[in-house]
Symmetry: C2
Subunit: 421 residues, 2 copies
């Protein structure tokens, strides 16, 4: 009987989106607590196309905390994981599952071990803020498992200690990470500015740039910038606070021209302070520059911005189109300039919401090859093509925050063994 | 008799170096007078390898001012040429050539026309500040022809009105362009910090990057930066003044580590404010980034800088080595990572002071192919090679200021006709 009691497994599965900053977070004032030197604002991406799914489980049979990420067991000994686990455990409450006859008292959580399985539905190599979705999902799912009563804002302060930008993945729509003032980081939390329905015209296209260059990690990169850049403090203290105010207004008013101007300017300034670092950090490459050139030229020819671009700590372009029509025209331009390699299947070259491809009248590679040069480059230099410079495009949109997946079939752990399925 | 008198041609030929800024000039406070928003410091390059030669002539037979640049007649109607011509004419003095029986009174210069022929001994397409050497040589040679009594400092204020950085080419060695305070620009002049003998260990290698990308002109680029960058004012007012002081000290003390640190940081910051411009300006490309990576990695492995890098408004790298030994080791590294295309003659791939190539033990392409990977990359990722990304290398050194070429054989105008030879 005692043995039988020891064999129960209690599980929770959650899905959490990733996010992309439109006013960038770069630089910490506290490395351990992960406290930023400026506020930041992000848009949450639709988890249908980019998200992390995590199952967490507890069982008296587990003799240590264990985690599997994308099919591979990883160590939980790192400070960031330990901080999140400790903070969540400290807030655990009594849990009772009458059906299964399980009762866990608040104090028991300190002695019970967890198993965690996490999986990203997008290639981790893509450099698309997988740690943001990952830590947000870890904290969210553990909080549900342990019956933590705190709201998502409080949970965001815990996720922040795993990965700074993870705090913004606790909400859908547009989210602000308030840097806070307290030394212990208690007021350094994410708040939702508007939900994903507020500005539902927006369409997002991510160009994943083919790249074998090794990148500087965000953690060491932003530390080097704070230590060596002569411009970062001016950015954090003088430039960003004004931009945050204007960006909040632009989002509230769905003012796309202002939104686009601020988004592009802030992305460029983030890469500028990276370059002002010693040694300099180059996250964008020639392909990134070409995507920017293509967007800037088109926006200028239209007289008003159709698309905003933003780049994180890597060469991939995140393009935010004002509406579906603009996204369709953008995708045509992108496919014209960056056709896939001959052996690539169009179906794997444009992924996510493929209906935009359909709107663009493109069904196969022949349609890509037949695309005419965009009018804004006509009669000028012969249109340049950069075959193979992009690995693939992801079409998506702003999306919702974390959700629990109550259907057991989504669980990533075996309910009997508590090991990965 | 009268006709005979009308047919004389009086000529002067001069040679003027180009220069490369180690603390950068970027941004004007007056577009017409070309007044900078910060001081800058440059090193003058040896005119044996990079210079402009200009012959100016006056004759009563000339019925208009005319100019030929690199074999092609160009218009002098632009404001920059007109400003230089007007300022020099206003300072002309009496000229008498007893041998030729020529007498020109001060007041006559207003009515006499000039012919100008100018020629760069380096490819103009290389983007190596040809306008700096060009305007300096124009002003210097006209001043000699018209017997202008002002010193090179005063002449630098005139050359500045042709092209800002031209003012620094009026001197050899290390030169400071003082931005000045006066509205009329009279105190915005160049001064020599030290002559070319002061730090004669330095060796300079220029990597001319193969590039077909169209660049943003410096003039429009710096205007856009001043108008749109949120960082440029902080750079000009807060960052550069301190760097100028430290750079002057480093040059006086031949303190290479400080010199290298400041040179690299200021080049990177210049490119950072270009990127912080709307739309962003990208002068460096992936090849530029790779050269920086190669230098940074080697400097780090040596524990102290061996080579400084600096990039102007284009992708070309200017590498300043602490001495001949460092230059030799640098050239080996550069040739290892950036071998020429198979059909390239080594003799046209490394030009200028070829003795450095000899020191490196490289006599032909086979020696380039046989170069071992630099020790600092051994046992790490397989050494990457980027064939054909560099057009050629120029080996040179700090050099002297402008000189008159008194030997008539150097003249670029026919002494009888006053037309290009």
């Amino acid at each position: 009987m005692a043995e039988q009691l020891q064999n129960w497994v209690l599980m929770v599965t959650a899905q959490t989106p990733t996010n992309i900053a439109v006013i960038k977070y770069w630089g910490k004032r506290d490395e351990d607590l992960i406290l930023a030197i400026n506020d930041s604002i992000s848009v949450t991406l639709d988890p249908a196309h980019l998200c992390t799914t995590t199952t967490v489980a507890v069982s008296p049979a587990f003799n240590q905390d264990r985690m599997w990420l994308n099919g591979k067991e990883i160590s939980l000994s790192g400070g960031r994981y330990q901080n999140c686990l400790r903070e969540i455990r400290a807030r655990a409450s009594d849990v009772e599952d009458e059906n299964k006859g399980i009762k866990i008292a608040k104090k028991d959580w300190q002695n019970l071990h967890v198993h965690i399985v996490s999986y990203n539905n997008f290639p981790t190599a893509a450099g698309l803020a997988s740690s943001a979705a990952g830590f947000a999902c870890l904290v969210f799912s553990l909080a549900k498992l342990m019956n933590v009563q705190e709201d998502n804002g409080k949970l965001s302060a815990i996720a922040r200690q795993g990965s700074g930008s993870a705090c913004r993945s606790l909400y859908g729509g547009f989210v602000k990470w308030i840097m806070g003032k307290e030394e212990n980081g208690s007021d350094s939390i994410a708040v939702q500015l508007v939900d994903e329905k507020h500005w539902d015209e927006l369409v997002i296209i991510i160009a994943v740039v083919s790249s074998r260059q090794k990148e500087t990690s965000s953690t060491s990169g932003m530390r080097d910038t704070v230590e060596t850049s002569a411009l970062i403090e001016h950015r954090a203290k003088e430039v960003v606070p004004k931009r945050i105010i204007h960006m909040e207004e632009a989002i509230q008013n769905r003012d796309f021209p202002t939104f686009a101007q601020l988004t592009c300017a802030d992305s460029n300034q983030f890469h500028a302070v990276c370059m002002d670092t010693s040694p300099p950090i180059f996250y964008m490459n020639d392909t990134s520059h070409r995507v920017i050139g293509c967007v800037e030229k088109w926006n200028r020819s239209e007289g008003t911005p159709q698309v905003a671009y933003t780049f994180d700590a890597g060469p991939n372009a995140v393009l935010i189109a004002r509406n579906r029509k603009a996204a369709t025209l953008m995708l045509q331009r992108l496919l014209f300039h960056f056709p896939p390699n001959s052996d690539t299947d169009l179906n794997s070259y444009v992924i996510g919401d493929k209906s935009i491809l359909k709107d663009a009248g493109i069904q196969d590679i022949k349609d890509v090859e037949a695309l005419p040069p965009p009018p804004e480059i006509k009669d000028k230099v012969p249109a340049q093509k950069y075959k193979g410079e992009i690995s693939y495009f992801i079409c998506t949109r702003p999306g919702r925050g974390p959700v629990l997946l109550t259907d057991d079939s989504h669980a990533l752990l075996n309910p009997e063994t508590g090991l990965p399925k």
